[in-house]
Amino acid sequence: MQLREIVERLKLQVLAGEKALDREVSSGYCSDLISDFIANGAPGCLWLTLQTHMNVVAVALLTGAAGVVFTGGRGIPPEVCRRAEAEGLPLLHTHYHTFEIAGRLYRLLYEK
């Protein structure tokens, strides 16, 4: 499923990477541990996390994630958004907690 459709159906706010929303999302992965995501996040997956610092952008890029969803309505530092925008990485924001948004994403991806 295209990331753009996920953004629309789950009403995610786009913080960066608007131009890259046509990419395909293969799966999702929920983790707040950086190295756990590196070990287990598949290329093309959407990363749901509470972490909002600069290294989330670096890790999403090096693992080939389709994008990042910041859950729980946390404030995102503007420099994180600027870096992601410069790198063409979609950053998305939701007030839902990780469990809620993961459930909705799972239904979208797998229960067609």
Partner: protein, 144 residues
């Protein structure tokens, strides 16, 4: 064509506790490998190994250097730091073991998965370290 590229060397200083710039070295190495046209699966392994090695310098050392030597056949990543060293390398390689301080763990680092992630990506891995003597991590990944 990547068969025509000469050997390429890159080196980046890595500052201790700099979580803003930490990871930039690995990102630069990744970009060069993309430009030269290495296969995505090889690039991913190199980028992950280099990133984890770089962040280990940021988290655990007093600073160091990340180096990459790239040839069409083999990519060598070397992370060298001055720092406390690793007293028990076998223990440090165990998944879940970490000595990272609490405030760094709260950023999602120090899950005890960095060295295991490097081992998973590397064809060859050598760690030289002793207490008080710093640490050198040497990672070899073949392009095959």
């Amino acid at each position: 064509m990547k068969d025509n590229i000469p050997s390429l060397e890159m080196a980046f200083p890595v500052r201790a506790r700099d979580f803003l710039a930490g990871g930039d070295g690995a990102a630069r190495i990744r970009r060069v490998l993309q430009q030269v046209g290495f296969p995505p699966a090889i690039i991913r392994r190199v980028a992950i190994a280099a990133y984890e090695a770089e962040m280990n310098i940021v988290i655990h050392s007093e600073g160091g250097e990340l180096k990459a030597q790239i040839t069409p056949e083999v990519i060598t990543i070397t992370a060298r730091d001055t720092g406390p060293g690793i007293p028990d390398i076998e223990l440090a390689m165990q998944e879940g073991y970490s000595t990272a301080p609490r405030e760094i763990q709260e950023m999602g680092f120090g899950a005890g998965m960095g060295l295991p992630n490097i081992r998973r990506c590397a064809d060859e891995l050598e760690i030289k370290s002793a207490p008080g003597q710093g640490t050198t991590v040497n990672i070899i990944i073949y392009n095959r």
